[in-house]
């Protein structure tokens, strides 16, 4: 029923389609991409948009469309892994803090506050700069900066659901504390978590791209949207606009789609939050 309402709104329906399309092309990249992304076409270096190369080619003659499609794999994979890790870690910490309370709560929440005291992007930069920029480190950097969001969210939800009568009933019936949290409380915290994860996916993609843009994320020759944008930026003055436009457009479209779907989900699940950022 909720899915119906999500698809009824044209804007969010469009956004959902974009997410689906981006995900599918990323999954099927080797089959969808017209060329090998690393294979140079010596006859067409820095070629503009054409039938042969729909999004043009770069300075080595590599097909832009293939590179953008393969870049999507990395961007989505990194964002998804980071979100999954942050969600798991944040939920566990938030659940512990909210359910136990007392010193556990203090310890967890003060640590989370410490992470939040740094601007997220600066912290991500620092982590990748310190650990070196491998894919795993980018995932770790984004996951760490996202953990506080989930911790605070789940802790708040926990404080709400742990006082419910079904929580008391679960205890009366003989559940052990971890069973109460896992089977009774956490499942009832899922809706706001889904909203938050969707919004955070968009933000995570943006962070991967931004890190790569400044050279701290994914390294060439692996194609990545932010790093492609950075490379392409140098050619704008000389007129090769396609190099910066298409990867930049891919970032914008994907992030926008995640944000729109996230906002719509939030409106559906909690109409009171409408318009609140």
């Amino acid at each position: 029923m909720r899915w119906r309402r999500l698809t009824r709104n044209r804007l969010s329906f469009g956004a959902l389609c974009v997410i689906l399309a981006v995900t599918l092309t990323s999954l099927l990249a080797p089959w969808v991409a017209p060329y090998d992304p690393d294979n140079p076409d010596a006859e067409a270096t820095l070629a503009s948009v054409s039938m042969r190369h729909p999004l043009g080619t770069d300075v080595y003659g590599r097909d832009q469309l293939s590179r953008v499609i393969h870049a999507g794999r990395i961007d989505l994979l990194v964002a998804l892994c980071a979100t999954a890790i942050a969600l798991t870690l944040g939920s566990a910490l938030g659940a512990g803090a909210g359910y136990r309370g007392g010193w556990v709560d203090q310890l967890v929440m003060r640590s989370v506050d410490a992470i939040m005291a740094f601007p997220a992007f600066i912290l991500a930069m620092a982590i990748t700069a310190a650990l070196g920029n491998s894919i795993a480190n980018v995932v770790a950097a984004i996951a760490i900066t996202h953990v506080p969001i989930y911790t605070r969210l789940i802790r708040g939800e926990m404080l709400r659901v742990r006082e419910t009568e079904y929580a008391e009933a679960a205890r009366t019936v003989g559940n052990r504390p971890h069973q109460i949290v896992l089977y009774h409380l956490l499942p009832n915290c899922v809706p706001p978590l889904v909203v938050q994860a969707t919004l955070a996916m968009g933000f995570a993609i943006l962070t991967v791209a931004a890190l790569s843009f400044i050279g701290l994320g994914i390294h060439p020759p692996q194609s990545e949207w932010g790093q492609m944008t950075a490379e392409g930026a140098g050619y704008v003055v000389s007129g090769e606009w396609w190099l910066v436009l298409f990867p930049g457009f891919a970032i914008m479209l994907t992030v926008l789609a995640f944000n729109l779907v996230g906002d719509t989900l939030r409106d559906l699940l909690d109409p009171r939050m409408r318009g609140v950022r």
Binding site: E165, E168, A169, R171, V173, G174, N175
Partner: protein, 324 residues
């Protein structure tokens, strides 16, 4: 030996904040909400004790204290020869199969994400080694016993009516065949037609399964039907306790009299003496010294400022009133 004995049970909720700190500095005891302030009673095997009183008098806190959903400030709860107050963790958890509760709000007390089957099977999962098929069979049996069809097993709480939800709650409470069940106003959120059915069901289950109930209610008519003995609570203490017949025939405490005289009688021609209390229930933070009813009681005397305890005025009839 009584099945359940509550001895001097006390629960104070501290107010916290700067007031508490100031009180400590000044050297007197910090203020607290004295929700339950020295409650003692016993329930014999197979007996049903009714616990009545206004909203906010501490009835539900007593229920939660017995089940150790909140920890008491003082006093003991003994279940058979086990001191429940001294238990924690796994030993306490193992006692729970014998000690169940039906909650007040049938909707709020069911996890919205568990199907009827999962909700009713869960106690078995936690307390028995039955296999999945056996649990399933047992859940269906218990559901049939509370008058729900097998088809409802795979439904979720929001797909059930209020009466069905309460039956699921009852089924969940009795599936482990507990010896003692606390019923915390099980009928207050049901409409009148369903209320009678629920009460009949509870009476029938008690007869067939041999359980004891602590039946908490503010509905005196249902208490009269279900309970063998009644304890009347006012402001965190028991003011009168007697067998149901005796209490309804000959209430001794002014509070009980006021409570009983407020029950509507279906015959408009009956003239009766009404005992009306003045004012409102005092705050459980500032409980008057001496008799707690003193400020509101039309019969109050100077002696009522003296502390009052429950004393036996007739065999098995206890009253906390200087004048009774």
């Amino acid at each position: 030996m009584p099945l359940l004995a509550v001895e001097g049970l006390v629960k104070h909720f501290p107010l916290g904040g700067p007031g508490e700190w100031l009180d400590r500095v000044r050297g007197h005891a910090p203020k607290a909400v004295r929700a339950v302030d020295g409650v003692s009673f016993a329930v014999e095997p197979g007996e049903t004790l009714g616990l009545v009183g206004e909203s906010g008098c501490g009835k539900s806190t007593v229920a939660r204290l017995i089940l150790r959903l909140v920890d008491p400030t003082g006093g003991h709860v003994r279940f058979g020869d086990v001191n429940l107050t001294a238990l924690a963790g796994e030993p306490l958890r193992r006692q729970r199969r014998n000690l169940q509760m039906v909650f007040q709000d049938p909707t709020a007390s069911l996890n919205p994400r568990l199907s009827v089957r999962r909700a009713v099977e869960e106690p078995l999962r936690r307390h028995s080694t039955l296999r999945a098929a056996e649990r399933r069979e047992r859940a269906a049996q218990v559901l049939a016993r509370v008058g729900l069809e097998r088809e409802l097993l795979d439904r979720y709480p929001h797909e059930l009516s209020g009466g069905q939800r309460q039956r699921v709650n009852i089924a969940r409470a009795i599936v482990t065949e507990p010896r003692f069940v606390v019923l915390d106003e099980p009928t207050s959120s049901l409409d009148v037609s369903l209320r009678a059915k629920a009460i009949l069901l509870l009476a029938e289950l008690r007869a067939t399964l041999g359980m004891s109930y602590l039946f908490i209610s503010h509905d005196l008519a249902t208490v009269k039907y279900l309970a063998g003995r009644v304890a009347v609570m006012y402001l965190g203490t028991i003011v009168e306790e007697a067998s149901t017949a005796e209490l309804f025939r000959q209430p001794r405490h002014p509070y009980t009299k006021a409570l009983l005289s407020a029950v509507p009688v279906p015959d408009p021609t009956v003239q009766r003496e009404r005992l009306v209390l003045r004012g409102e229930v005092p705050s459980p933070i500032d409980i008057p010294a001496g008799c707690r009813l003193r400020g509101r009681c039309p019969l109050a005397q100077p002696v009522c400022a003296e502390p009052v305890t429950l004393r036996e005025v007739a065999p098995r009839h206890r009253v906390a009133c200087h004048l009774a």
